[in-house]
Symmetry: C2
Subunit: 465 residues, 2 copies
């Protein structure tokens, strides 16, 4: 297997292939097949997202995939931002269509005409909905599984509020929800406010959650957008206020995608293969019987599994008889199962099991009757270890960019002071080849802009995926 550190890109492609997450041999470039193991992991991620947004009062809906050019054209910046990168349906059967239709690249244009029908009065607000669907981009750049593709597994939440202040509170709620989701997935990140020229087409401002992939490139793994009244004025989303007058709603959105899986693969994996955070592992515990004279290790494995299934763990027995235990250990390590349980003659005899964490350390022995609570502890340990490793990696990947030279030659993300002007951003990009991701939203420290020397704030630069 490829070495993750020395050639991350090859490692990444190889592990996706051999672990059975996705098959990219489909005849359309950038459109891949979700294989059972990968789909299970993605659906677990979806369910974590669902749980958190459902608890915050969001409701799940599903809009059509097609959007007419008329719908898309209602907000000018929005259509300009997307019309060059969408797939266009122009024919139904043998007939040319009267109105061309786009495969949704995102769903503002699909949804907001309906919002206009749904929102009548202040009692209808806030409106908080989301959908988990595929979106489509006619991507001309180099494609990469889960990172830059043409059919994207996508979560999009959309809200409408009585006023801007309420929409701003929604932005805070998104941040809280995102903190919880990213913590479940053990993914560290920084919040960058995208420069105006790089915000979502039609938004007032965009906050992006950027993480650091191995090799130092950054990956945007989530975004939240404040639309204010930009869309509602164009789509006519008005409501009746308590005082009898009408007002436009203020809107926000929150987007996540299969890039979360890309980050999990890249950040947590090692030279042995994947390592799944327990919350999304398709198999959380693999039970491997080690054949032993006079001991029914297979039967014993079934008992172990019963304990674990009853406690709600996703446990599986590898009872294939044409493979050695060593082979099985390697295979399940490669596939990222966070915990292995070995049951051999000794375990059967002692009524014990032996646990081995995917993240390393010595084997742990416990009584069969304690297996559920020990597994729970072990999976918590794996989660903590992954979180710690990922955050150490992230800290190492975010370097002080105090000179142009350093930013130019380093393979990492950089924090540096920037005045916020387009001119200085262009200058930095030309000199270093890195992209300015935006101002670091959390950081209040000020300093001199690395280009012009005027007062600036902390910003991030990197080579983004």
């Amino acid at each position: 297997m490829e070495n993750k550190k020395s050639d991350f890109s090859s490692w990444y492609n190889e592990i996706i292939d051999i672990s059975g997450l996705s098959d990219k041999r489909y005849p359309i470039k950038g459109m891949n097949v979700w294989l059972p193991y990968g789909l299970k992991a993605m659906k677990s991620i979806d369910n974590i997202i669902r749980e958190h947004v459902d608890n915050s009062g969001f409701q799940e809906v599903q809009f059509p995939v097609l959007i007419t050019r008329d719908q898309l054209s209602i907000e000018f910046e929005h259509v300009k931002g997307f019309e060059n990168e969408v797939y266009w349906v122009t024919r139904g059967g043998m007939e040319p269509l009267d109105v061309e239709m786009a495969l949704r690249p995102t769903s503002e244009a699909a949804m907001y005409g309906m919002f206009q029908l749904w929102v009548r009065a202040h009692t209808d607000l806030p409106l908080k909905i989301y959908q988990i669907v595929s979106v489509y981009r006619y991507e001309t750049k180099h494609t990469r599984t889960f990172i830059r593709i043409r059919e994207i597994h996508f979560f999009e939440a959309h809200t409408a509020h009585t006023d801007y202040a309420s929409a701003e509170r929604q932005m805070e709620e998104y941040r809280r929800i995102w903190n919880e989701i990213s913590s479940e997935l053990c993914l560290p990140f920084i919040v960058d406010q995208r420069p105006d020229w790089d915000k979502f087409p039609g938004a007032m401002y965009t906050l992006a959650f950027d993480t650091a992939m191995p090799g130092g490139r950054s990956l945007q793994i989530g975004t939240i957008h404040q639309y204010g009244e930009n869309f509602s004025k164009n789509y006519g989303i008005e409501y009746l206020k308590e005082d009898g007058t009408h007002s436009f709603v203020s809107q926000t959105t929150f987007g996540l995608s299969e890039r979360l899986l890309a980050a999990i693969i890249g950040i947590h994996g090692d030279d042995t293969g994947l390592i799944f955070p327990p919350s999304i592992a398709p198999v959380q515990v693999i039970i491997v019987p080690i054949p032993s004279e006079g001991a029914d290790t297979d039967g014993y494995a079934v008992r172990v599994k019963e304990y674990l299934s009853a406690a709600g763990f996703r446990a599986q027995i590898d009872s294939r008889d044409n493979y050695t235990p060593g082979f099985k250990f390697n295979e399940w390590e490669m596939k990222g199962v966070p915990l292995r349980i070995e049951v051999g003659g000794r375990e059967v005899h002692d009524s014990t099991v032996t646990l081995r964490l995917r993240t390393g350390g010595s084997r742990i022995k416990c009584n069969l009757t304690d297996v559920a609570s020990e597994v729970s502890k072990a999976l918590s340990s794996v989660k903590e270890i992954l979180r710690k490793r990922a955050s150490d990696h992230f800290e190492k990947s975010m370097v002080d960019g105090d000179t142009i030279e350093k930013i130019k030659n380093g393979e990492s993300m950089f924090r540096f002071y920037w005045c916020g002007s387009r001119e200085c951003s262009d200058h930095l990009e030309a000199d270093t080849g890195k992209t300015v991701l935006g101002m670091q939203r959390e950081m209040n420290s000020t300093g001199r802009c690395i280009i012009c020397g005027k007062e600036g704030k902390l910003a991030t630069a990197s080579t983004p995926y």
Copy 2:
């Protein structure tokens, strides 16, 4: 509200609208918005399907939505069957595409090129996969929510086997799985083998599950197809046999769709509104507090809900204070919640609850501490009542068609004897306006063909949706 019996079509449209299942005001005809309540019901149906196919060794995958014309053209009958009714993507951004691509109308052409890569040896077989995705048909006929639409919520299972006998056993397994699913949904049906001219494009034969909607029209709610080697020969899906020679696989498919929801709405509903089978009801139990001097009915309702949630029921409290209990009763009856629990002053005082089944009958009183088991019993009763009513309705809807006159003038499905020839089928259709759905697969009785008088077998005719 419309009367279901006297004007089913209007009743159907109205109940979908007022219960909040789907919104058909989306600007593209036949592409509707799944609203939260409708989506929840559909996802419960999906999960019942998943549970049954997962238990039979199927694995879930997800293929791209786009299929190139080249892929689609590999099987001649298949492309002929679909090319006139699919949406064609011809442009990416501003550029015309080199190869036109179809939005999948079904996924044989998407999948079988990959099957060709995945299947190498007999040890890879049987291959059993499924996906739950949207499929697209450029429908020119009159559209109807959940029944005839352009974006269809679709389940498709695909298998590959070493030989025809094994594929035939798969067809039997589908039948068993379908019996279980339809039983959960309380949907009666008949198995019709579609005439050759009406089978799935590319199939050797097609068995359809037809049910009877109110008003007497039939609705196809599921199909299973035997492909034999028709696709594998064209897509080159070969495997190495134990004896060292190569052979083509035999294939089958199983398709279900949102028509299941249409059948549930149509068959179980009444003049008061929807009635959901408990297994898929988004809300299984609605708890309505009835305000009473000096009794904390709201607090008591919370305790009732805790009992039910702990037991795994989907229970909800209607605590809105600007509506009367009577209004709430009507609303939740309209929305098809199978069981209502009323808690008033007397219930609080006696530590009891009062149950009312959506299917009618007198109120049932029980102790608070027994509420979970009583609810379980009550939901089972609702299920049994729905099943019985539906099967009574189905029996009444399937009438002996002993004369052409009777078939012509009746508003129902008809069983009649048919020799199997195209000529007699055309003749019957011309004379009666009904369509021949095919031979009744289960029935072995023979009689004289209603048209030509030669020996025939039992067949079905109706006005299908």
